[in-house]
């Protein structure tokens, strides 16, 4: 399978796991990663700059109408929902909160599932609410690959547990193993590209 995007949903405990993931991915990692981290409405973007400085990849806030590029990690802006269009650009919206959250993981995941179908990888990480469960179900329905952080290894186990109750996940792994798996998948992607070019 050739994957075109990874979406990640993460809530409480998220800053630590995003630090680990963004620092661990190698410079030639291609698949774009789009992240909803629950933050307060007035949160500034300094933490994104900090992540960016420590990472091999470009990490930035997802801009309205921006085209999704390889080798980039996008983070949803505070106080807006982030959606993905079928032409692989971002849309923002200030609809009502979903699961008390804006940005909401479900909103990102559901639109990403429509846009990428089976070429999507969905990941639910640490968090203490059930945002992301409906979204990961939708990703599965559309044929995407689903990965959930093993609740035993999560700072806040509730969100991954809720996702596990929702679907038969393809993988339930520790954070370290998730990173390793993503690198493996990205390498396979690149070989696949070479083969079919």
């Amino acid at each position: 399978m050739h994957y075109e995007a990874i979406v990640i949903g993460v809530s409480s405990g998220g800053m630590n796991v995003l630090k680990i993931i963004s620092a661990a991915l190698p410079i030639d990692f291609k698949i774009p990663i789009i992240i909803v981290q629950h933050v307060g409405a007035h949160s500034d973007s300094k933490w994104i700059q900090l992540l960016n400085e420590k990472s091999n990849l470009l990490i930035k806030e997802a801009d309205e109408k921006e085209k999704i590029e390889k080798g980039t990690m996008y983070i949803a802006a505070p106080n807006y929902h982030l959606l993905i269009e079928k032409d692989k650009t971002f849309s923002l919206s200030i609809d009502e909160r979903v699961n008390f959250a804006r940005p909401s993981i479900d909103v990102l995941f559901e639109s990403a599932a429509e846009a990428y179908r089976e070429k999507l990888i969905g990941i639910v990480l640490t968090g203490s609410n059930n945002d992301g469960t409906k979204g990961i179900i939708r990703i599965k329905e559309c044929g995407g690959l689903t990965i959930i952080q093993d609740p035993k290894t999560a700072e806040s186990p509730y969100m991954p547990k809720s996702a596990i109750d929702g679907i038969e996940a393809d993988y339930i792994l520790s954070l370290e193993d998730i990173v390793e798996l993503l690198i493996k998948i990205d390498n396979q992607n690149n070989n696949f590209n070479k083969l079919y070019k």
């Binding site: 309205e64 807006y80 959606l83 269009e85 849309s91 919206s93 609809d95 559901e110 429509e114 939708r138």
Partner: protein
């Protein structure tokens, strides 16, 4: 929410039906957003598929107006983005002060919170008496609510904080009176606001104005429609007039970018060149 696979074709036929029957044109809105709203309505109203919705839209006025409400997102706040209002006071008010009469257009004013916030700023800056605020939206229900100026007091704590952070000079509670679970905005704030129904997609230039605020409306439009509406704004602004967009909206990709200078890049405030 229970999902079904719904094709783009079904959705575009539904939008076509809404346009042809009711005159509201959502065909160039962000598709992901439209899809989400339609699927939501489908789940709430218990339809099997979009074609069922289509015939309902054609034959049932009440349902059609419900769907229009769904597609118009009226979420808003008073003094949303306090930093924007601070910049408005610092960079835009001095420009407005140079005019004997001031016309302001709030395009997509929703339930009016933004227009009332503006009226408060103008009053504090001593400009309100020579200002007319045109506050427009295509959602008549929202406009009616705006005109009443009655808001739930649930949000007042947040609005008060917003107001203070935005550089407010008074006590926020002096701008409304409380009544049960609501607050009623002062009559003195309403007197120079004209509420009007205007559709940015299908209606033409609205008036010649000194300042346009269109915040968090263009994010729902695709690129072509954004460009079209941007030229509507350009043609409605006098030379030297000011355009304020939402904090995540950009002019940079618009054909008209060159014709403005940036007054505040971060707060998305632009001045039309002479």
């Amino acid at each position: 929410m229970q999902y079904k696979d719904t094709s783009d074709l079904e959705i575009s036929l539904l939008l076509e039906a809404i346009y042809r029957k009711h005159g509201y044109d959502f065909r160039q809105y962000s598709q992901a957003h439209i899809r989400r709203r339609i699927m939501n309505r489908m789940a709430i109203s218990g339809f099997e598929d979009v074609s069922q919705m289509q015939s309902k839209v054609l034959n049932d006025e009440i349902f059609a107006s419900e769907l229009l409400q769904d597609l118009s997102i009226t979420v808003t706040e008073m003094f949303r983005d306090p930093a924007f209002y601070r910049s408005l006071r610092e960079k835009v008010i001095p420009i407005l002060k140079t005019y004997p009469f001031i016309k302001i257009w709030h395009a997509g004013c929703a339930t009016g919170e933004e227009a009332y916030s503006m009226a408060i700023v103008l009053q504090e800056e001593g400009l309100y008496d020579r200002t007319t605020i045109y506050a427009t939206d295509f959602n008549q229900l929202a406009l009616n609510q705006a005109k009443d100026g009655i808001f739930s007091n649930k949000m007042i704590k947040e609005y008060t904080t917003n107001y203070q952070l935005s550089g407010g000079k008074e006590s926020f509670s002096s701008y409304y009176t409380s009544s049960y679970d609501n607050v009623i905005m002062n009559q003195s704030l309403k007197k120079n606001i004209v509420w009007a129904n205007h559709n940015l997609v299908t209606d033409s230039v609205f008036a010649e104005v000194n300042l346009i605020l269109c915040r968090n409306v263009l994010i729902y439009f695709d690129k072509n429609l954004q460009n079209k509406v941007q030229s509507l704004f350009f043609n409605s602004l006098i030379n030297g007039g000011v355009l304020c967009l939402g904090s995540k909206e950009s002019l940079r990709f618009s054909d008209l970018y060159e014709k403005y200078m940036e007054l505040d890049t971060k707060q998305r405030i632009f001045k039309k060149k002479y």
